[in-house]
Symmetry: C2
Subunit: 345 residues, 2 copies
Amino acid sequence: MKSEEKSNFNPDLFRHRKASLLSVEKYVEGITQGDRTILGRAITLIESERVDHQQLAQQVIERCMPLSGKSIRIGITGSPGVGKSTFVEALGQVVIQDDHRVAVLAIDPTSTISKGSILGDKTRMEQLSNHPRAYIRPSASGQSLGGVARKTRETILLCEAAGYDVILIETVGVGQSEIAVHSMTDLFLLLLLPGAGDELQGIKRGIVEMADILAINKSDGERVHLARQTQLAYQQATHLALAKDSEWVPVVTTCSALEKTGIGEIWESVQNYHQSVQSNGYLPGNRKNQAVFWLKDHIDVYLRNSFYNHPAVARKKEDVEKDVMLGKCSPFQGAKILLDIFEKE
Amino acid sequence: MKSEEKSNFNPDLFRHRKASLLSVEKYVEGITQGDRTILGRAITLIESERVDHQQLAQQVIERCMPLSGKSIRIGITGSPGVGKSTFVEALGQVVIQDDHRVAVLAIDPTSTISKGSILGDKTRMEQLSNHPRAYIRPSASGQSLGGVARKTRETILLCEAAGYDVILIETVGVGQSEIAVHSMTDLFLLLLLPGAGDELQGIKRGIVEMADILAINKSDGERVHLARQTQLAYQQATHLALAKDSEWVPVVTTCSALEKTGIGEIWESVQNYHQSVQSNGYLPGNRKNQAVFWLKDHIDVYLRNSFYNHPAVARKKEDVEKDVMLGKCSPFQGAKILLDIFEKE
């Protein structure tokens, strides 16, 4: 146990060992004192599917809630190959040099084993992961995006209680997980490649519109000119788009995470954004909306699960779906059949 | 009663009179014989919120299901001012001249009184509404888009059972209702204005991507050249977009509903589309997916309603939301509080 409790590095290697549980007090004490091992164990508790772990985790979260919220939460996305990990490492180092404490989390609903997840390979963030003011956590695993998203949301709260005031949440690829990340962050940063239009980069248009900062990465060597052209094109597109609720005009910039150029400017933009949405009241209002959104989402998920996992419903579901598909009954009638079964028992 | 039962015109004027209910047999007989008054009364039954009306309506729908499905369902949208009603009237006339029977429905979740809805003002479709092979129905009213959408979906089934083989479903403005219409139609037709880009026309990009036919209306007089330019721009954009599941390459065309030019070509495109998605199997597969989508949607809506309408939940909901907003408890904990209340009773 000793080596696990003292080590500052990669407590996750020990996650599959049966670790004894601590008391709520001990978890909260450890977290608020910035003990990264205990923080890691508390996050593991959040991620556990066991009911007793869940109950304990909820008590820890409840105790940490009053200490949370004092960070800027930044969502970072971009297609595979855009250089997300290198960028996160470079940005994280700038943040640390500016005397902040940074936590790096990830959402990857496609990974089922946490070790195989995007940030699992910590060697990709070697410098950052060894820094005492940085905390890196591989992505939560889980069956459903909703489950993964909840775990990540609650992990944010614990990291904030542990004193991390910049939270970077990386997400992989394109699609639903961006929406989830967007609903739990204050600022959305999209990484792009020089040259190709967003469709060719595999980015859905809605994602571009969500971005507060667009950074064209890999602006180095021969690609500098192309990156600049891409920047101008996106600046024009951004200029034409409708104003955001935050009143923030998206910043389009270039950088090279590899050569560490343009990263300081991005961090400046983040700070400008933060100041702007703090002072116009958008940030606190948005966080309240996000909290209610997740409240409703949890309720929806629970209601749906208890319905579809009901044995009698599960038995009948396929037949009803088939009848609805074949037009033997209307969707409304099919729903009624299943709901009647559900309510009778 | 006689005058109502015999009149072919505007039975809706009588909707607020207490009409005696018919038997299921009588409704089905009337509908299948193409009696528009009885069709109108059956739709009124679908739209009623009364439980006994709903039960009767569901029996009528069930009996009509085997006779439904044999139409092409066309969703038509575009921003206010694009000339939707004039276009629908012009297209409807072309369809009728081609020996088809056309039903025109509308989705307008913003209207609370059905008479004030988009198609309520029938004088705007005078010629079409007087034609024996056309049936025009003002939009269903309702509190929620989901409710309105269900009513429209079930109205489609009855119209099909009554022998209408072209269903035009008009929707107003931009946003959620387009998604609803898209999930109940085979083909999505977007009306545009000459000149302005889609953002300036108030059209979200996702809507443009959903369209199978894009028609630049008001291509008349001095606007012909501008309409042609707009056509070229959208053709280019469409060309760049990813291939659709239907394998259909969207058609971009110009027309003038006022001068009735280009409407025949649009009807031809509709028929080409229909033939193409019938023969490659997309249409039947898509309809099955749509039916299952609505099955799940009805279940979701019902589960949510029974939860939020639960008296004890309703009493506590505001307090919990406030606590979640203020960060006194996490969204997950808030959800748990409400769900515990719900399950205890």
